[in-house]
């Protein structure tokens, strides 16, 4: 009779369960007199009362715990009260002596149990004991294996059993089991033991911890058959038991024919992953058996579904036979190829591990380590499938090399097929071949040093890429310039004439200086250099010839030393020996005296002369101007420069006000990366044009000319003066950090140490920090368990992963700048 009334009362319990995990305001313990207390008791309602002497201390450890138990017990419909035994109202529950006070459990006004206060040592014990007493019929307490077998036999074909072992009554685990029993006690037979022997007899080695087994007895029809058992692996908490039992209730195997990403089962809600076994019509029976087997193995750990590929509308990779979906929302499903059912199990289990690891270490970082962050390598790799018209250049081999470079003037590109930088340059080289097609008598050739290693070594090529020019009767010349189409084209074109060119008449010299003589080359060399010598100045001529040779490919040089050289020297007011520099763009010819300058100095004089006073700075020419080691005065301009500004700056240059600076301007149309530079200097891109001084070589200070001032000579001069006097403050300082490794490397040494410390025979005496080593051990084990999957599996997974990162990648790289 009692139990039936109890059942009614339990209807509301699943609701209660939902509330258990919320903390509401703690209902405090009500204090009543005995009379008052008994009058509040309602039939069928349980109540726990603590009787104490009125003069007892108002607070004690027990009272604190009891106070805490008020709320949870109320959730189960059990009221709690402290009854003060006042002298006038003695009750038989009031202990005679102070230390004999007890707590009593009533249902209605029927006493169910009395508890000495020391059994109710904490809130867990209070809840556990009270529920245990109330659920006396629902939870069978047993001590022998025989008891268990009897229960098992009795329930076969009828109901499932939740069998649990706890180390003692009143422990948190006991409370968790009791709370679960309160909810599920009518659905499943709860069996409880505290006997370790009983636990051992059903085959558990670990007797230190509490355990819960689910016995699947309901489906057992043959009485001789044993009920299948599922061990609950997570620690016994109310929530875990609830989750575990929920998964036991869920169908073992579900068949689905929809997008795995859309499927939802109770498992996902419980935070467990889903495993889809992909099935086809043809193998349906076998797949179903496999799936059932897997489902049993993963019961309580993951949901298992049979995915019918034939009736599926979404695409899944052809070879994938398992689909794995994590419980986390928004994580895409993974398609796996697993050839062994055991692998499915280990995959799920190790995935659970990995999640745990990810919490400690940043797994993202180690994944990034495998992502290419070298822009040259990545771009070359992405371009690998494009077919280059390589046939436009002649591929040389060990056999053909000598014959070819002897037979015709040749440019040879030495590269290595596996080296990204040289492959990137090969593209420019091919572009050059397209440009020059049929117009040049210079043969464009290439040698792949990955194939012809010895040949390259013989040609003194030990790094890549290298470009050399072979001309008949002359030793090969290495190309020293930028690895780009235009610069190499200039080198080749300027090498068509011998430098210095021997000029034989005054008229020819004039044509040379005016640019008519080599009209087609003027675009490659904006300056023509002419050395003027008397016929008898042999050493000076030799030095100049040497310098001209050295500068070959970089600038046009000529030499005139006929008897009538004075005509020229007089015309251009030059004292012999002298250089005439014809600047074709500006149409100016200037002269520089050459008093006994050795070849080296002549080279220097000419290279200095090639520098413009107010150049447009570009990616290609910046390094030349940086050699001057002066701060840059850069005028940023969106498009061509305003002639007024140019005039202002040139005036300052001519008045020698800018000698300590390198004035230049940058056209954002030609050099868009200039915007990147501006962004580094200013928080917000300011209106253009804009003048800055960048002190690259000392301190990295950047100063900006006030944008509210007009760029005029006066304003500029004033600003520069202030700047010099240290009166201007910088807008930013360029970072001075060293370039560190962008990402860490694999630390194989510690991985090896970790592995070595697993073999006790080979203990490394250097390994002093044992705890560290052990920790490493564990990580290593986990990883190796995961790695044991066949390679194919990992490949697909990898592919998937990298796809996953693709989306974030551009964003990430933006942030990281590179």
């Amino acid at each position: 009779m009692m139990s039936s009334s109890f059942n009614i009362f339990r209807v509301g319990i699943s609701f209660v369960m939902m509330c258990i995990f919320y903390k509401s305001a703690v209902d405090s313990l009500s204090e009543l007199s005995p009379q008052k207390y008994f009058s509040t008791l309602q039939p069928g309602k349980a109540s726990l009362a603590y009787f104490c002497q009125a003069d007892s201390p108002r607070t004690s450890v027990f009272l604190e715990e009891l106070n805490e138990a008020v709320k949870p017990l109320q959730d189960y419909g059990i009221s709690v009260a402290k009854v003060n035994c006042v002298k006038e109202e003695t009750s038989r529950y009031c202990g005679k002596e102070k230390d004999l006070v007890k707590a009593y459990l009533f249902r209605g006004n029927i006493l169910l149990r009395e508890f000495p206060t020391d059994t109710l040592f904490d809130v867990n014990a209070i809840v556990a004991h009270v529920l245990f007493a109330l659920l006396f019929n629902e939870v069978k307490y047993i001590t022998t294996l025989e008891d268990l077998q009897n229960i098992e036999n009795a329930l076969k074909g009828k109901a499932n059993i939740a069998f649990s072992y706890v180390r003692a009554i009143g422990t948190p685990e006991h409370r968790a089991v009791m709370e679960a029993a309160f909810v599920y006690g009518t659905t499943y037979q709860f069996v409880l033991t505290t006997e370790t022997a009983l636990l051992e007899s059903i085959g558990t080695e670990d007797i230190k911890n509490a355990h819960l087994y689910f016995f699947h007895c309901k489906q057992v029809l043959d009485l001789t058959e044993q009920c299948r058992r599922t061990l609950m692996e997570p620690p016994l908490t109310t929530l875990n038991i609830h989750r575990f039992i929920k998964t036991m209730e869920a169908p073992l195997l579900t068949e689905v024919a929809e997008d795995p990403q859309q499927v939802s089962t109770v498992h996902l809600q419980l935070g467990l992953p889903l495993v889809f076994i992909v099935s086809q019509q043809a193998t349906y029976e076998a797949d179903r058996r496999t799936a059932e087997w897997v489902a049993w193995r993963l019961l309580g750990k993951a949901g298992v579904l049979l995915l019918l590929r034939d009736s599926l509308e979404v695409d899944i990779p052809q070879h994938a036979n398992v689909v794995f979906r994590r419980a986390e929302e928004g994580v895409p499903v993974e398609f796996l190829v697993l050839h062994d059912v055991d692998l499915i199990i280990s995959c799920v289990e190790s995935n659970m591990h990995i999640e745990e690891i990810q919490e400690d270490e940043d797994d993202m970082e180690s994944s990034d380590m495998d992502i290419q962050d070298d822009e040259v390598a990545e771009t070359v790799y992405r371009d690998r499938k494009r077919r280059l018209p390589l046939e436009l250049t002649v591929e040389l081999t060990e056999e053909t090399f000598n014959a070819t470079v002897v037979a015709s003037d040749s440019i040879v590109l030495f590269y290595a097929g596996w080296q990204a930088v040289s492959m990137a340059f090969l593209q420019s080289y091919i572009d050059l071949a397209i440009k020059l097609k049929g117009t040049s008598n210079m043969l464009l050739t290439r040698v792949n040093c990955a194939d012809w290693s010895d040949l390259c070594t013989k040609q003194n090529v030990t790094e890549f890429p290298v470009v050399k020019m072979y001309k008949e009767g002359k030793s090969p010349v290495s190309y020293p310039g930028m690895l780009g189409t235009e610069d190499l084209l200039k080198f080749i074109q300027l090498n068509r004439i011998s430098c210095p060119v021997n000029i034989t008449s005054v008229q020819e010299a004039e044509e040379y200086l005016s640019g008519e003589l080599y009209e087609d080359l003027i675009s490659y060399s904006s300056v023509s250099v002419l050395g003027l010598f008397s016929p008898n100045m042999t050493t000076a001529k030799e030095d100049f010839t040497e310098a001209g040779n050295y500068l070959k490919g970089c600038v046009i040089t000529g030499i005139y030393s006929e008897d009538d050289v004075l005509i020229l020297s007089n015309k251009y007011a030059a004292t012999l020996p002298a250089l005439l520099l014809a600047r074709h763009k500006e149409g100016k010819i200037e002269s520089i005296p050459l008093a006994n300058s050795p070849a080296q100095d002549i080279v220097q004089i000419i290279t200095d002369a090639l520098l413009e006073t107010f150049p447009e700075i570009t990616v290609e020419n910046l390094p030349i101007y940086l050699r001057l080691q002066k701060p840059l005065l850069i005028l940023f301009s969106d498009g061509s420069i305003n002639p007024q500004y140019k005039k202002a700056i040139l005036t300052l240059v001519n008045e020698k006000h800018l000698d300590s600076l390198t004035p230049c301007w940058l056209n954002l149309k030609n050099t868009p990366v200039g915007r990147g530079v501006l962004q580094a200097y200013f928080d917000a891109l300011p209106p253009l044009p804009l003048l800055v001084v960048v002190n690259l070589h000392s301190g990295g200070h950047v100063f900006a000319f006030p944008s509210d001032q007009a760029i005029t000579e006066q304003n500029l001069l004033l600003w520069l003066k202030k700047l010099e006097a240290g009166l201007e403050s910088h807008i930013t300082i360029l970072p001075a950090q060293e370039w560190k490794p962008p990402l860490p490397a694999y630390d194989f040494l510690s991985m090896m140490d970790a592995a070595a410390s697993q073999h006790p025979t080979r203990k490394d005496p250097e390994c002093t920090k044992e705890t560290d080593a052990q920790e490493n051990d564990k990580k290593h084990e986990d990883k190796s368990a995961f790695r044991k999957e066949p390679i194919e599996t990992l490949r697909i997974k990898h592919w998937n992963r990298s796809n996953l990162f693709k989306g974030e990648k551009s964003f990430k790289h933006d942030n990281k700048e590179l």
Binding site: A377, P623, G676, K740, A745, L749, K769, L818
Partner: protein, 684 residues
């Protein structure tokens, strides 16, 4: 013992002995005429001797090779008895790279002449020994090496002299009594004395060196072969089809070269008997210590195997000798044999070397070899080097130093050492800016044949310059001499170094190992250290290890514990050029060792860094700033933008409000300073 490597055979011991017994007689004429001096004397014109002669010749040194026979490679005129060399002659690899192809050419010597490649001498994968003789003949001839043929050196002694390079001269006395004085002695005489085990009845045993090679002579016979090397199996293979059965007896278990990765162990080409044994076709293998055995001959002339101690019981009558089967009637070798053949390998001939040279045999495990240091110099006398097969004690059962395809490189290493020691020519090296480091290593691990063949013995060394802005690259240095690198090479290692070695997985090789187990290959870069097949391993040291550290290194380590180590994951095709799988992890390793950024950049990026940073990454500094920036092309640039590694600045202006995402706001730093790899090293 493989024949691919064995060098020439010295004269029959008996003949040599006569000279040894009368040293005074031999020396007298030598003293009358002043001995002819040479800086370098090479003993033996086998492959190793000729290889050394080649290097000496190219360097223009004063040298001579002494050869007993009238032509080079006399060992190969008789051995292997069955004429098939087991060193592979792979004529095609699908690659043009000559250096790479040497990885699979086990017979050629090193030279600059492409005609002197063995593939021009034989089309057979396992060539005939006669072709080797012809090859060596051509090698000596074409290169004009100074070989004194028909000159038997009967005695070698030491003459102290302060003037001499090494404080003494080596005095060689030939068969005619002429003396030769040498500053440096290079012994390349191979292993020439057949190894004999002494036991009662060993006189009935035929030796490999003289046994018939005609299968007809074995028709219907029971044959017992002593030994378990390639010569034993080669002998068995030849007669397998005509005998009743062959039993093979030796002390240790059979070692298959495909399980041990040592070419001197039993090669699959010779292992037919293993097949018939395991298929129970009467042939069989047995293990027993030969020194416990005795062979007795019965009245019919058949041989019985018994134990030595049965003979010691005193009863000498042949029929009455106790046989093991008398006690245990299922004794395996209870059958009578028609022939017993000894195939136990060869030993070095110590007999011509005077005691003063202190040339002694190695320890227990390499008795057959003279004791040498890892530099191949004798431990007993400075200036005496052992080359070729006889130098195999350095890497016996480990690497290929006992075979042509291995010692051709160790000979070169010895020559480089000598060039520095006596002629002040530093060990050849190339110097590069640090931005070339990754490429230099990738290049070598993909083509170098010396590293590949002499894995664990010869290693490349990268010596860093100050501040790690540049490095020197040294090839094929004997890695056990690492502590002495500066004195041997004449190069300075003050700022840290990398050592590039090739290695098999630690527990992969061994006679009893299953080398075909599932999952034997590793495909993931993070598991590279577990690679099993031969793969490159790079060691990083902040300081040159000391001799002590090299000697007392951990047992299974090739080198002392480094500051950091990197394994390039093994590759099925031995092609380590995959951008992400091989090169990227290598770069990260190098970067973290050097604490710098070794990425390559296009000129545009360098331009940006130049104007926005005070310092530049090495690639920009060593390329762009020197006017050698990489400009790239339109299509590459597009890929760069797609990948997110490059940025399209032409559109920046239009969306400049999103400052947070601009690369430059974060470009203040070239990426957060990551903890360098070695900083946590110290804690471990």
């Amino acid at each position: 013992m493989g024949f691919s490597a064995a060098a020439r055979l010295w004269g029959p011991p008996g003949l040599l002995l006569t000279f040894v017994l009368h040293p005074a007689l031999c020396l007298r004429p030598a003293q009358t005429s002043a001995p002819r001096h040479r800086d370098y004397c090479v003993l033996g014109a086998g492959p190793a001797g000729l290889q050394m002669a080649y290097f000496l010749q190219r360097a223009g040194r004063d040298y001579a090779v002494f050869e007993r026979a009238p032509r080079p490679g006399s060992f190969f005129t008789r051995y292997p008895r069955h004429r098939k060399l087991i060193s592979i002659n792979k004529r095609h690899t699908g690659k043009a790279n000559a250096e790479f192809n040497l990885r699979h050419d086990w017979n050629s010597l090193l030279s600059h002449d492409p005609r002197l490649l063995f593939r021009h001498y034989s089309r057979a994968y396992f060539p005939d020994a006669g072709d080797m003789v012809r090859y060596l003949d051509d090698f000596a001839d074409r290169l004009g090496l100074h070989v004194l043929y028909n000159t038997t050196i009967a005695h070698v002694t030491l003459n102290k002299d302060r003037q001499a390079w090494n404080g003494h001269y080596f005095i060689l006395t030939d068969g005619m009594g002429h003396a030769h004085r040498c500053s440096v002695l290079l012994v390349a005489t191979g292993l020439s004395v057949p190894n004999q085990v002494d036991f009662p009845g060993s006189e009935y045993v035929e030796g490999y060196e003289s046994v018939s090679v005609d299968p007809k002579d074995f028709e219907g016979q029971n044959v017992l072969i002593l030994g378990r090397g390639n010569s034993a199996f080669e002998t068995a293979e030849n007669i397998l089809g005509v005998t009743n059965f062959i039993h093979m007896l030796s002390r240790s278990r059979v070692r298959l070269s495909w399980a041990t990765h040592y070419v001197g162990d039993l090669r699959a080409i010779n292992n037919g008997l293993l097949d018939t044994y395991q298929l129970k076709s009467l042939d069989g293998l047995l293990e027993s210590d030969l020194t416990d055995l005795a062979v007795v001959k019965d009245r019919e002339g058949k041989f019985h195997v018994t134990l030595k101690f049965f003979l010691e019981e005193g009863n000498q009558s042949a029929d009455a000798i106790t046989l093991p089967q008398d006690d245990s009637d299922n004794f395996a070798m209870r059958v009578a044999y028609d022939r017993v053949i000894r195939c136990l390998g060869w030993n070095f001939d110590f007999s011509i070397f005077n005691k003063s040279l202190r040339l002694s045999s190695g320890g227990e495990f390499s008795k057959k070899y003279p004791l040498v240091k890892a530099s191949y110099e004798s431990k007993g006398s400075r200036g005496l080097f052992v080359l070729g097969t006889a130098s195999h004690s350095v890497d016996y059962r480990k690497s290929a130093g006992g075979f042509i395809h291995g010692f051709r490189y160790t000979v070169r290493a010895v020559h480089r050492l000598l060039e520095h020691r006596h002629h002040s020519v530093a060990w050849p090296s190339t110097q590069h800016p640090i931005s070339q480091l990754t490429s230099s290593i990738v290049r070598r691990v993909n083509e170098a044949s010396g590293l590949y063949q002499m894995f664990g013995v010869l290693a490349d060394v990268v010596l860093l310059k100050e501040n790690a802005t540049a490095f020197e690259y040294l090839e094929e240095f004997p890695m056990q001499m690492l502590a002495q690198l500066e004195t041997i090479t004449g190069r300075k290692a003050r700022h840290g170094l990398f050592v590039i070695n090739m290695e098999y997985g630690r527990n992969f090789s061994g006679p009893d190992k299953d080398v075909f187990f599932y999952d034997r290959s590793v495909g993931h870069t993070e598991d590279a250290w577990q690679s099993n097949f031969l793969h490159p391993v790079i060691y990083y040291y902040r300081h040159l290890p000391t001799e002590q550290e090299v000697r007392f290194r951990p047992a299974d380590w090739a080198l002392p514990r480094p500051t950091a180590i990197h394994h390039i994951v093994e590759d099925f095709l031995t092609d380590w050029t995959a951008p992400v799988g091989h090169i990227l992890p290598l770069r990260r390793f190098l970067e973290n060792c050097l604490d710098t950024d070794l990425r390559s950049f296009y000129a545009e990026s360098c331009f940006l860094f130049t104007l926005t940073h005070q310092k530049l990454p090495p690639f920009c500094q060593q390329g762009y700033l020197r006017m050698q920036g990489l400009l790239g092309t339109e299509s590459l640039w597009r890929h760069g933008v797609e990948s997110g590694l490059l940025r399209d600045y032409t559109i920046v202006g239009r969306r400049r409000e999103d400052q947070g995402q601009g690369p430059l706001s974060s470009s203040q730093a070239p990426g957060p300073p990551v903890q360098p790899l070695d900083s946590n090293k110290e804690e471990l």
